[in-house]
Symmetry: C2
Subunit: 285 residues, 2 copies
Amino acid sequence: MSILQKINAQLDSMAPADRQIGQFIIDNPDQMLRLSSAALAVETGRSQSSVVKFSQKLGYAGYMELKLAVSEAKAQEWTAPAGMIHGTIEIGDSYLVILQKLIGSKQLSMQQTVAVNNEKDIGIALEILRKARRIHMAGVGASSLVARDFAYKLMKLGRNVLHDSDSHVQMANASTLGPDDVLFALSYSGDSIETLRIAELASQRGATVIAVTGLKDNPLSRVANIRLYTFADEERVRSSSITARDAQLTLTDLLFILLIQGQSDAHEYIHNSEVAVSVLKAEHP
Amino acid sequence: MSILQKINAQLDSMAPADRQIGQFIIDNPDQMLRLSSAALAVETGRSQSSVVKFSQKLGYAGYMELKLAVSEAKAQEWTAPAGMIHGTIEIGDSYLVILQKLIGSKQLSMQQTVAVNNEKDIGIALEILRKARRIHMAGVGASSLVARDFAYKLMKLGRNVLHDSDSHVQMANASTLGPDDVLFALSYSGDSIETLRIAELASQRGATVIAVTGLKDNPLSRVANIRLYTFADEERVRSSSITARDAQLTLTDLLFILLIQGQSDAHEYIHNSEVAVSVLKAEHP
DNA sequence: CAGGCATAGAATAATATATTCCTAAATCAA
DNA sequence: TTGATTTAGGAATATATTATTCTATGCCTG
């Protein structure tokens, strides 16, 4: 939690002088960075000592430390954008605000997604993907596109991957899975009926099931042997699965990169696939 | 460019005292933030005044300003990760380093992509998409997935969109386009032969062509009426089109959000599509 | 209503920063 | 080579900033 948010949260339980100082900092963090404690006191109509005490009450050694904390918070704000930190994208929003909210929530989803999966689980999933005789990707709707993207990438590494956007075909394929095979199932809600049934079938047939779902408890991850999670910032970009898709892509990209790391001939494979595709490029660019 | 990089770049052309101070700051930025000018002088074996002068030579009013700049740079480092700022993901990299490099380059691509397209061009593209009788999406390989993702989204808004992953089908469809129609063509390189031919055909038939390509000059954007650009940080995540795809998605997501903003019944459409899909969800989650 | 307690400003002490000044070394010109 | 001139860089100092202590005031509680 950034210092600005922290101040904001505590604002109500503060004494008048502190509240006034805190409010000013929240409203004008940039200006505050250029003010000395005395100057800030003048701006807020309070005393210089109150400013210092304010800083100390927040747990900092003094005003200077507070300034550093604010500067840091400001710098991270472009990452998780300015002002209305928890705003949904609204009808009246300006172009710039929409931009910031969109980028901000995309970034948040990405960061949280890598944060909620610990290295150990990722490592286990990698090991399973490495050893798999055959990998089957399951996912419908938006998740189908992520499944396909991941499938393409694994194919580039020479892995034996199967994916079809038609869930009936997926189901038929799942019926051929065996103990050495892996089902990689994607569903943000974790309760898409087709994906769930496919996972159940794969599980019955002894295949290892890796489920990539949202954080809350869901049927799909209950079926799975390995559970990986995605975090989507639905708060800000409501009514579209943009961030859920970004989170899934972040996770599959990470797995892909890590697979490359562990496969010594990976770059060779990728190079070959690029050369092959380049035949289909225009000759004079 | 961050202040740490700037110092690093100028290091060679600095006088001994300044070089020593600069080196210390580059090596221990965290520590530096907690040191006073005098304390830093002791650490580096130089005088306090040299520290202040060092700050001023870099263009800051004084030591305090330099500290703020360093703090900011440090804070942004998690965004564009630590240390080897221009490193590709290497074989020996640790899990954390890979994570940082991956997230960092994803974020960079997103930020740069919104930065390279000015509001005016985006606005024109939106207007064209709004007025289009029919929108045809073209794109092969990884771009095909982005095209499909964007197509799904526009369908949710009730727009008349066409996409098929098979380039022959795309070409056949393009042959039916007319002056009121729009071809939305995606290709990072801008020289995928199929996409290019489809765009040429669409253009001949009088359709408006919107091209989404990388920044460098390319055949596809030359054919187009409207040129939008994507920025991919291929530097760090080499040998895969991860960031190029992220950039394309960022751009199409932005267009989608902006279309929603300008269409009063958009949320209704989306709501209806969600209700419709929810029939396919498991009943007891 | 007295005593304790919290608030907050004034005054002051302590620190930190910026400037000035000075010296020694380096560079340059004749 | 030598004297003039510049430059680097530290010591000293002036200034500014920050932190602490002290005190007045109001407020609550017993």
